[in-house]
Subunit: 481 residues, 2 copies
């Protein structure tokens, strides 16, 4: 049986260390593709650790696609082509430790009783701005106003002020294992705006590939800029690279950590296949939209595609609007070095769409550790919202009629409803009871079979007010049972 | 001699009323094109008003192009084609009274002594963020956070939150005589971003005409979006419509109130010619960039092209980033009704690039009258900066070598230098003394003769620190004398 000494584990937790050992053996071929891993119970006994530790390590490896779970059989090492791992031959860079999770008190939960009649929105996924530490933010604003008066007046580089870009680069290095320079970070007012910069940077003559199912707005942004798009179907491991290869696309736009709306996490072997595809032609690249990577509610954060890219083909994107507060509209992208220089040359003339003042404030917010605290606080807040909702479903007769998928990967989950009703009926009847919901089928664009997506409701719960989960489920009972 | 009774003047000042009477007579043809107006002195005696009153009315009429001044001869009614005034035949709509100018104390002026060695930037024109009433803004932010929690979470229309758009529409109606609905107002993070929305709205297949001389960045935005541009030369009355007509352009992008960098105010007859050009073909339109209309330092604000447009061909643009503070990045455009509906249909899917929170705060700031107060305060502040600089020039031997143009129209003026030095030498020698300046020739794009623009230095003074004018002039003496 596999065995590991826990002598060199450093600051890692038991499960993190075990996860890294197994991953390293899989990448090095010491555990061969298809090889069965020890059962959780016997492995735990053998290593002298708890079953939970092994379980957590396996869950993380499975989430990242290093191992596959076969029902009633166990875990097996996945088939990761060795060619895909060359030229460097190395595995993914080690991301830093996940931010520690401090338990902060939740908001008072009584005040919502009067809102019972109002709509419950499980579509938009917008965050309650009252969760934002406004007092700290206002204090930092005053600090910036006092200390940075000269810089506030100066024209900032088009990509954003260096202080913020450096703070973002440092954060990504520490928490996401991304080894980048601040010049590679480009700041802008929202990801849609960054898409438009990318179109100008990469060229309007290229075909942009999008995931199916997928968020329809992304396609609209591209099309509104007169750019040709093509849909590539997804399966359980991510976007189908075979189909991508058949297309003429030069740019693939994906969300590998947590796809919206399917919740799929792109497997590690699919990630390497995508990188291989990008490496085949000089003009190809991948846009990795990591919109809610901070909110994986169980397990360690998954290494970004950017962090395992050795050829400078991945453009990484994320937003503070979602992770922090809709109060600000700040997103950023990380360009490969070569594209970063090209950006400076071709698009550096633009004024940054985010005011300097807000950029310096956010830089201080990150630098002083408030961002990390806020992320942890919000992760707990969202976990509580999700658990409340899942508990309420479990206690309801509705619980028998639904199964939940992807509840750990980020801030939405899929609810598969056993029903003869059409998707249109499901959402309309929910709306009739004051619950706004959408179905997976609404995000389909014709390349995946209809029957595979029917009856799957998307539950986007960040906007759910504390204490309203029972009411939400009662309304759905009235709508659907 | 012309005579007017001052019986129906209502709330207008003497000079405003006189200005309106003469303008109305010119538009109605009662004063014929080319007709000489009475001399200021005799007209004043005849009307029983002061010479200053007549002088102010004439200056305003001249600035707007209703009358021409001929050196050592007097004022003459301009040639405004009557056809151009039809179909409506009416003159421009009356703008409301100008905001009253309250004298607010300036900031302490001693604290800059230590900065003597630092660069003096007369190019970027950025505003000191410390001039912004941050305490009021922060208080309004807290009010919004308390009162608007629900709206802050809701998805706002792509064009911006209705509250802000209504506040802008009300302000424009009151102070600029623009009769518009809030749906016509589109809010975005900076004018460059709004250009990109306009390209998506109007189409990439059209040719966009730009002023020569002109701000080079505008062209770069268009070109970066793959759109064809053409330069149209300017003369003292504005962009040359004859040359515009010879081009294939469908969209004319201009700043008629105060052109950067020439300082030219487009004459009223040229305005009607432009509107006539736009009306000739269904696809034509005019983008009116009114970037510093609030900062006309003498006379009444000039009616916008939008306010005299009867055919829905003018897209009006302005920004709060310049008028209020670089602390926020909020610009807006006013679309003709038909384009407003098209925007909603084609581009309404976009998320607004300005966060809801900032939009509601600005809406309150305008609604409660703080914007008007701030504009007045800043107008005084800028006038003081300009006067300080002009006084310092007057007292300096340099004063003999330069003549000043366009010092009233907005926040920059032209300084014509009597010199044999090239423009490159002028700016380089100034830079050597720590003064950043640019020359008119740097903004030329090949359609105007070089000799006509040589030796004209642009002085963009908003960023000049109080009390540093003498130092600025001393440095320029060392550089140029």
């Amino acid at each position: 049986m596999l065995t590991y000494s826990f002598q060199n584990m450093g600051k890692d937790s038991l499960y993190e260390y075990l996860y890294k050992c197994i991953r390293s053996d899989i990448l090095a071929g010491r555990i061969r593709p298809g090889e069965k891993l020890p059962s959780k119970r016997s492995f735990a006994r053998n290593l002298g650790v708890s079953v939970v530790t092994v379980e957590s390590a396996y869950a993380q490896l499975a989430a990242e696609g290093y191992i596959d779970s076969r029902p009633r059989s166990g875990y097996y090492a996945a088939h990761i082509s060795q060619e895909l791992l060359t030229p460097s031959g190395a595995g993914p860079r080690e991301p830093g430790p996940a931010p520690t999770r401090r338990e902060l008190p939740e908001r008072a939960e009584g005040e919502e009783a009067a809102e019972e009649k109002t709509e419950i929105d499980l579509v938009s996924g917008s965050t309650d701005p009252a969760q934002f530490p406004f007092t700290i933010w206002a204090r930092l604003m005053r600090t910036v106003l006092a200390d940075r008066r000269r810089e506030l007046m100066a024209r900032a580089p088009g990509g954003g002020v260096p202080a913020l870009r450096q703070a973002i680069a440092d954060y990504l290095r520490q928490y996401q294992g991304m080894d980048i320079g601040w010049e590679q970070v480009i700041v802008g007012a929202g990801t849609e705006y960054l898409y438009s910069l990318l179109i100008q940077l990469l060229g309007r003559d290229k075909i942009y590939a999008l995931e199916d199912p997928g968020y329809g707005k992304t396609a609209r942004v591209y099309e509104s800029h007169g750019v040709e798009t093509v849909y590539i179907p997804m399966d359980q491991a991510g976007v189908q690279t075979g189909r991508l290869r058949e297309s003429e696309a030069a740019v693939m736009h994906i969300s590998p950590s947590h796809h919206f709306p399917t919740g799929v996490t792109t497997s590690i072997s699919r990630r390497y296949e995508l990188l291989a595809w990008a490496g085949e032609r000089p003009e190809r690249c991948i846009i990795e939209d990591d919109y809610d990577c901070e909110f994986r509610l169980a397990g360690r954060p998954i290494p970004s595609l950017q962090s395992i890219d050795r050829q400078g083909r991945v453009i990484y994107m994320n937003t503070f609007t979602r992770s922090l507060t809709p109060t600000i509209r700040i997103s950023y992208m990380v360009l490969p070095k070569r594209l970063g220089e090209e950006f400076q040359r071709k698009l550096g003339f633009y004024s940054c769409t985010v005011p300097n003042f807000e950029q310096y404030t956010l830089a201080e917010f990150i630098r002083r550790g408030y961002f990390e605290k806020q992320i942890n606080r919000m992760r707990n807040y969202y976990r509580a919202r999700r658990d409340e909702l899942l508990d309420a479903l479990g206690k309801s007769p509705l619980g028998e009629q639904v199964s939940i998928e992807g509840a750990d990967a980020g801030l939405h989950f899929l609810m598969r409803v056993k029903t003869d009703r059409t998707d249109g009926e499901l959402t309309e009847r929910a709306a009739g009871q004051g619950v706004k919901l959408s179905c997976l089928s609404q995000y389909c664009h014709g390349t995946v079979p209809d029957r595979s997506v029917r009856g799957q409701v998307i539950v986007n719960y960040p906007g759910l007010t504390p204490g309203r989960a029972d009411e939400t489920v009662r309304r759905l009972e009235r709508a659907w049972l």
